[in-house]
Symmetry: C2
Subunit: 336 residues, 2 copies
């Protein structure tokens, strides 16, 4: 396949007149080897563009230096999380490579858990990174049972000792509400995602807290929870406008749902932001290209990726379970 003549440490060893062990130690910068030798061996390796065979090293070390990024199949249905997934993946990939790890993308059947076995016991990967999704719980359980190292994006169910990284959801809800209040909105609605997602609850808490602090009531007619999808976003918005026709603002917990909501608001004859102000969540790249450009809550995704990677690696090394939450930021555009 490749006719490069110098491929193994044995080759280098021969050229440098030393043993395999010495070359191996030079490459891992072991203190056992004398400086002079190190220099010489390194030079030879360099000249011959030598690169260690990763599989051999991994076999020897019994670790793969690879982690699996677990995603669900991308079905035809556009999932709300998609773009988010991509951006997070970029961050994780960066973080991982900074730690010297590779990232394998593993698509799994949401119903099965055999993949844990398959990838871990075969030595293919050292650990897993999961993003929040409706099937998360079952997977987390499986991972815990098999004592597989993993970390999740999102807020773990209360009482679970699971390493995680998430946005500061309470603060996100608060920022959105405060911005709407500051611009004089009086009847602010909440269009949420699935009820059982802890982050949605936290966003609501932050949101409701800010309203109460401002002396506003949190009218149940102006609150709804929907599955994560743009069609659900549209349906939810329609319901809200039916229940509370006089609402003058809405905080939507995802940008994709917010875009769908805006379409509904307009279809029903109201203007955004004049009649109804809209604040989204995530700051996906579509947010600034939409009509009108979307005011939204941005999570620091590159940071999230780096932390997911870093904390998982840390957990692998020390067993330290860390739960960190990262700051969010209000991005004001024209929809609110």
């Amino acid at each position: 396949m490749n006719k490069k003549p110098v491929q193994t440490i044995a080759d280098i060893a021969r050229l440098a007149n030393v043993s395999k062990s010495t070359v191996s130690r030079v490459l891992s910068d072991s203190p056992l080897i004398g400086e002079a030798t190190k220099e010489r061996v390194r030079a030879i390796a360099e000249q011959n563009h030598f690169l260690v065979n990763v599989q051999a090293r991994q076999l020897s070390l019994k670790q793969s230096r690879t982690i699996a990024f677990v995603v669900h199949p991308f079905n035809n249905d556009f999932s709300i999380a998609d773009l988010f997934v991509l951006e997070v993946m970029g961050g994780i990939s960066n973080g991982l490579s900074a730690e010297g790890y590779d990232m394998l993308v593993v698509q799994v059947d949401p119903q099965e858990t055999g993949w844990v076995h398959q990838y871990l016991d075969s030595g293919r990967v050292d650990g897993f990174i999961l993003l929040t999704s409706s099937y998360r719980q079952r997977h987390i359980q499986a991972l815990q049972e098999m004592e597989a190292p993993f970390i999740v994006w999102g807020v773990p169910q209360p009482g679970q000792a699971v390493p995680s990284v998430s946005g500061d959801n309470v603060q996100g809800g608060k920022l959105a509400a405060e911005h709407l209040l500051k611009s004089g909105r009086k009847r602010i609605a909440f269009l949420g995602g699935p009820t059982d997602e802890p982050e949605i609850q936290l966003r609501f808490n932050g949101f409701a807290g800010a309203l109460q602090e401002a002396g506003q009531v949190v009218d149940p007619d102006r609150i709804t929870y929907e599955p994560y999808s743009s069609t659900a976003g549209a349906a939810g918005m329609e319901r809200l406008l039916g229940q509370a026709p006089n609402l003058d603002a809405v905080f939507v917990v995802s940008d994709m749902m917010a875009l769908a909501a805006i379409q509904v608001i307009r279809r029903l004859g109201r203007r955004v932001p004049e009649d109804v102000a809209v604040v989204g969540y995530d700051d996906l790249s579509v947010a600034e290209l939409s009509q009108p450009p979307l005011t939204t809550i941005r999570q620091n995704i590159p940071l999230a990726g780096r932390l997911l990677a870093g904390n998982l690696v840390e957990y692998l090394r020390t067993g330290q379970v860390a739960n960190v939450s990262i700051p969010v930021e209000l991005i004001v555009r024209q929809s609110a």
Copy 2:
């Protein structure tokens, strides 16, 4: 790390009272082994939840059964390809796992080519998959020089023997033009991407061919080529309207540019689609959420992914260079 007692084929061999070789052969279903033995060994492996160690197998076979999906860093700048990347990746990942391969996501510096060496010579991956991008040429050159197996999404430069999968760009251009003609448009413009991208030329060919067939002239004033970006899309649209103020439709070769173009058209006081009809390309998820929902050309992305994976694997095995193009489809919404 894992206390599973039965982990190696040696363990299985002991339990089954056979040699390592036999177990190995049973697992690869070698015809050398008798049926009775196979059954027995398989049963034992099964009972003990045995899984082969991937690294050891790979070391022995000198192949990684892994391919690298090469992407550029996701910078803050919204890249035209983003969503596209994600969707294609899903398809590739599916195709690859059907072939028994894993997918590694490799982020590379567009300026460097060292990664080819790094991943190939170290045995980390068996091949690469690249998506079209402005830096593609340099990378392709590097890959070819190192005789690295790879496949690209998009149309290769003429005269290059490069395995590829691409959409049927000629047909895409044709469908767009025909749709606009059918709705009675008389002065149709073309807003293209970079001139040196073969796919852009092909889309133009299909577009121009359809116009000519309908007896329309292809007025140079109604044609422009811009870099790939939404700002360039806006600039291009502005130029077109300046050169040919009476145009009544425009075919834009990417959805993102089309969205920008629509903003310009409106800013200059015309309505979409009444005054100017707009057809985009790609059918990104934003297309249906935009105002008005965008009429566009959709490529069968899951199929693309599967073909990229399948053809690369085929190339790995046989050296067959295949260049396939997949069908496209017109999605009619409200912008045209």
